[in-house]
């Protein structure tokens, strides 16, 4: 063997770069480590990998050409939006290309009467609502990272937000996706009509974590802005009563615009941080929002108040002004940075369980706190049963980290046992890929692979994410936030 021969990865890199260079501008193709290092991870910073190269195309035609080149050279592609994902879905592959859609930033068309907007995938979630605000419309799904995350990423992850109980997930709010298959063919899923011929491929495409095709255009549904919104903050002296109140509200025939829950460790950490006006003596608080016409909101707030009182709320406070409503929400949205202030590290879970199991899970987490000798604070989308327990630990203590890991697995397994799922909104990505082995049987995972192969026969689009191979099923990966800080700490999350 010739010791002077360049390493195989470098050969691949040369091959890829020279094939892409003819049609990409100099600053649209990066391969020097100092240029590609910002792309080595997404919002899940514990998982890093340098790619062969990063392409930042500007036109659909360039995307087509990139896909054709990679298809020909058998180079895997990791698509990337704003890089705010929390499950490592956009983590590069060593022998692959990162395809960034960051330059696809145009809002192509807004039709206020049809209530639709056609946008490129790099458009930020919140930018859509801002652009259509003058028509009194907005785009409903509101993941907490909405000031930075892109609609292309939202489509790939089927993102939710605090209002999805009433307004639905990305799936319910996207009408059409224009995308490019690995072959370079331009296709359309869904459409402007209420349905499309053939199988509903749009439904399986949304949430496919960049593994089926590359999005180049999205038509979203817009909804009229509610005239008014008000939120109730309800205190409970017992976590079980708070969990029951969530079920009672739904049982009373009310679908609140938002229904969030925080336990005492969470309210205390938050109150110290943002002074949201929370009742820190309560064992748990609920935030219940109503939106609509003034008459509607009045009616719903009084109904919800009655249910909450009957469920044992010890104190109710209704937001009197828009500023106070936003203040109540600011506490909820800052729960994660607040956790970062009181603990060197925290470890976030994303399981979803049936609502009636909320108090059961919270009680089990309480027991686990003693078992693992670690603290845990709980904030969650109670209306959807989507839990975000935050395990607090010190990462510089090896034993604490192992205990935190075991604590986390215990929570996820409990979620599956209680009839739920390992991930409600953060996606599987690379982080939870091993937990997929717990939730799905071998034949189910085989079908997932066959679905992928139907779109991407050579399995070049974001391989090794979301769907584990048999070999992977032995390992466990976890989200770990070093030093209590996520990348982009300025963003509100979850």
């Amino acid at each position: 063997m010739n010791s002077l021969a360049p390493p195989p990865l470098l050969v691949r890199q040369q091959e890829l770069v020279s094939a892409l260079r003819p049609f990409l501008a100099e600053d649209a193709l990066l391969w020097e480590p100092e240029d590609t290092i910002p792309y080595e991870c997404d919002g899940l910073a514990a998982y890093r990998q340098m790619p062969l190269a990063v392409a930042l195309p500007q036109t659909e035609e360039q995307v087509v050409q990139i896909l054709k080149v990679c298809n020909k050279l058998n180079i895997p592609i990791v698509p990337r939006g704003a890089g705010t994902g929390l499950s490592g879905g956009a983590m590069p592959i060593a022998e692959g290309l990162v395809l960034s859609l960051a330059k696809f930033k145009k809002i192509i068309n807004i039709d206020p009467i049809a209530r639709t907007a056609i946008v490129q995938p790099g458009v930020r979630n919140l930018a859509i609502s801002e652009a259509v605000a003058k028509h009194n419309l907005y785009y409903a799904p509101d993941p907490s990272s909405q000031i930075a995350c892109s609609i292309g990423g939202n489509v790939s992850e089927n993102s939710g937000g605090v209002h999805c109980l009433k307004y639905g997930l990305t799936l319910h709010n996207v009408l059409r996706v224009r995308a490019i298959l690995i072959s370079g063919e331009i296709v359309e899923f869904g459409g402007l009509a209420p349905d499309a011929p053939g199988l509903d491929m749009l439904a399986v495409f949304i949430g496919s974590e960049g593994m089926l095709a590359i999005v180049t255009e999205v038509t979203v549904k817009l909804v009229p802005k509610p005239q008014v919104a008000k939120v109730i903050m309800a205190s409970f002296d017992d976590i079980g009563k708070g969990g029951q109140a969530v079920a009672d509200i739904i049982a009373a025939g009310i679908i609140p615009a938002g229904l969030e829950m925080m336990d005492q460790p969470a309210t205390r950490a938050v109150e110290e941080f943002v002074h949201a006006g929370y009742d820190i003596n309560a064992a748990t608080i609920l935030l219940c929002e109503s939106d609509g016409t003034p008459e509607e909101v009045e009616e719903e707030i009084s109904k919800m108040s009655a249910v909450l009182k009957a469920s044992g709320a010890t104190h109710l406070e209704v937001s009197q002004t828009e500023a106070q409503r936003l203040q109540f929400w600011s506490g909820r949205k800052n729960a994660f940075p607040a956790a970062g202030r009181i603990s060197p590290d925290y470890y976030c879970m994303d399981g979803t369980i049936p609502r009636r199991q909320i108090s059961e899970l919270l009680n089990r987490i309480k027991d686990m706190e003693s078992k693992y000798n670690l603290r845990c604070m709980n904030v969650f989308h109670a209306g959807d049963g989507n839990m975000h327990p935050l395990i607090l630990f010190n990462g510089s203590d090896e034993d604490e980290w192992h205990r935190a890991e075991a604590f986390g697995s215990d929570i996820l397994e409990t979620c599956v046992e209680l009839g739920g799922t390992i991930t409600g909104e953060h996606g599987v990505g690379i982080e939870k890929i091993n937990s997929m082995c717990v939730q799905f049987s071998e034949s189910e995972r085989d079908l997932f692979w066959a679905v992928k192969a139907a779109f991407d026969p050579k399995k070049l689009l974001n391989p090794d994410k979301a769907i584990p191979t048999l070999n992977r099923c032995a390992e466990y990966g976890r989200m770990r936030i070093t030093g209590g800080v996520l990348p982009h700490p300025e963003l509100e999350r979850f």
């Binding site: 224009r178 053939g198 025939g253 509607e296 009616e299 009636r356 049963g385």
Partner: protein, 368 residues
Amino acid sequence: MTQSFIQDTQEAIHEAIQSKGLLRITGSGTKDWFGAELKGNPLSTKNYQGIINYQPDELVITVKSGTSIKEIELALEEKNQQFAFEPPHFGDNATIGGMVCSGLAGPGRVSAGSLRDFVLGAKIMDGQGQVMNFGGTVMKNVAGYDVSRLMPGSLGTLALLLDVSIKVLPKPIATATLQLEIEQQKAIHTMNLLASQPWPINASCWQGEQNGMLHIRLSGAKAAVESATNSFKKNLGMKLLDPDEAKKFWDSLREHQSDWFKSSNHQALPLWRFAVAPTSNPINLPGSTLIEWHGGQRWWQGHLDAAAAKAIAAKAHGHASIFRSSERDLAMLSSLNDNPLTKALVPVQERLKKAFDPHGIFATGRLA
């Protein structure tokens, strides 16, 4: 019963694989007229019935596919809940399996969403007799591809639906229906203009030729419905319909039992469905049109050349299909081949079908 049904069905599937036969999945046959010509030996879900789990405060019901929609709707009614997408039954014993796999929805679809929006999870038996679970019973679940949502509209060409979990919603506290005589183009504009404002509009329908009658259904909180009713009466000159008459109107529309559908029901004339961009111009065909979903779904009865129908639909960013007719020419069903941007998906769809059904025992061709 469950175990023996599953075993019997697995046997039937294995036998079909061996004999290279075709299995046509059927519930009670109420929608046999829908889709392409029937082919294959019936594989019935009649012996697979019952509610597996219904938790009103979880907003979800899990049922076996052979259960009748009527039975489920009665159970929901008892808890003051409903399927907000208002599935049409099109017959007395219509089953949940047929409801899901036809993917059809009624007037409420325009505000509540499509049937597939409400599917949370499914247990299926694939073309090799393997039983698999996808999705679940929770509202948010992003573990793996959303395979359960491929079942709606698949017309039995992918797999046998065993159990399905569907999101349910509380019934609205108040509803009201208003009507207005108005010409077609203006009606389309009015429906969409009102929908772009925060009114509690739940359904819309217009029928006529040049001129016709617009119906709008409001639903939601009592105060909201009242204030919209007053505003529409005062500002648009709309008339409030008697509640019983209104209920009859929407029920018969959903079931295609109203006078407008009479000729196609008797198969005197083919019924065409145009699914188009809601704000598109009136489809330029002689005679009467019935419009639903703020313009997104348009019905027309008459003899029409398939290519002409498809051209009209394409102009309106949609697709056209024969919905109910004595003739069932495959060319009259909309297909991925109709649009240059979906042509490349034809082999993808074929591979998807193979993924579920490698031996082609469900390849009845019912879904064009």
